[in-house]
Amino acid sequence: MKILKVILVIFLICPINFVEADINDMRHKITKNLRCLICQGQSVYDSDSEFANSLKLVVDKKLNVGLSEDEIYDYLKNKYGDWILYDPEMNKSNLLLWTLPLILFVFGSLLIFKKVSIK
C-alpha cells in the first residue's frame, strides 16, 4: 500500500514539473534570441536594463496567454523590426547573404570539374 502511495505521489508531481520546466526553457530560449535595444550587443536574457526587464515580463505574459515562440517573434518584429532577433529569418533583403556561399560552392566545384576533366 505504501509503495502504491509513493508511486501515486511521484506520478502526480512529475507531469507538473515537466510543464513548469517547459515554460521556463521556452522563456529562456526566447529572451536569449532577443537583442536588448538599450544595451546593444547584449541579449534581453543577459541584460538588466529597464527595457529588458519589461520585455521579459511581456514575453512571460504572452507565453501565459498561450502564444507560440514564432508568434511572439512576429509581435516584436512588428514593433521593433527584424533587428531585435539575433537569429533573423530569411527574407528578400538577406537572400543573397544566405545563398552566396552556396552559389560560390557550386561555381567553384564546376571550375574544379572543368580543370580536372581537361587534364
Partner: protein, 172 residues
C-alpha cells in the same frame, strides 16, 4: 601584359576593401528601430496618474485631434531638459499632450510636476513598462505625434527646438 594585370588587380582589390572599411567607420552602429508610421496605435488599459482609476486608451484619444504622447519619468535626466519645451507646447490649443509615467515612484513624479509644471492634459501610469513595449518604445523620453489613432511621427530621445518646430508645423 600579364605581369601588369596582377599588381593592378591587387591594388584595386585592396582599394575596394579600404573604401568599404573606411565607409564602415562613419556608420553608426547604434540601431534605432524603424518607425512604423501610419500604424494603428495600440489599445490598452492603464491607471490614471491622479485618480488611480483604470482608463481605456480609447477614451483619452479622440479622433480628429492631434495628441502628443510623451513617455517620461522623474528619474530620467533628459526628461527634465525637454520639460520646458513641453510646457511651451502645452500653450498651443491645437495639440493635447498626454503623459505616460514610465516605471516611476508616485511621490517623485508628483514633485517633478510641482517643480517644473504640468504640461499634460492626462497622465497614465505604466508601472512595469509593458505598455511602452506595446507602443514600440524602448526608453525614456520618447514622444509620439498621434492623429486619428495613427502615429504620425515618433521621436526617440528628448525633444529639442527643431523637433518642436516640426510638430508645430505638422499640426498647423
Amino acid at each position: 601584359m600579364k605581369n601588369k594585370i596582377l599588381p593592378f588587380s591587387i591594388i584595386f582589390f585592396f582599394g575596394i576593401i579600404f573604401f568599404i572599411f573606411y565607409k564602415g567607420l562613419e556608420d553608426s552602429n547604434i540601431y534605432t528601430p524603424d518607425v512604423k508610421i501610419k500604424n494603428d496605435i495600440p489599445v490598452f488599459i492603464a491607471k490614471d496618474f491622479y485618480s488611480k482609476e483604470n482608463i481605456n486608451s480609447k477614451s483619452i484619444l479622440e479622433l480628429d485631434k492631434f495628441y502628443l504622447l510623451n513617455i517620461w519619468s522623474s528619474w530620467c535626466v533628459p526628461c527634465r531638459k525637454e520639460h520646458p519645451l513641453l510646457m511651451n507646447l502645452s500653450l498651443n490649443s491645437k495639440i493635447n499632450i498626454i503623459g505616460m509615467n514610465y516605471k516611476d515612484n508616485f511621490t517623485n513624479a508628483e514633485n517633478f510636476l510641482k517643480e517644473l509644471g504640468n504640461p499634460y492634459k492626462k497622465i497614465f501610469i505604466d508601472f512595469d513598462g509593458t505598455i511602452a513595449i506595446d507602443w514600440g518604445a524602448y526608453g525614456v523620453p520618447e514622444s509620439f505625434l498621434i492623429f486619428n489613432n495613427k502615429i504620425v511621427k515618433k521621436y526617440v530621445g528628448p525633444l529639442n527646438i527643431k523637433t518642436i518646430n516640426e510638430i508645430i508645423k505638422e499640426i498647423q
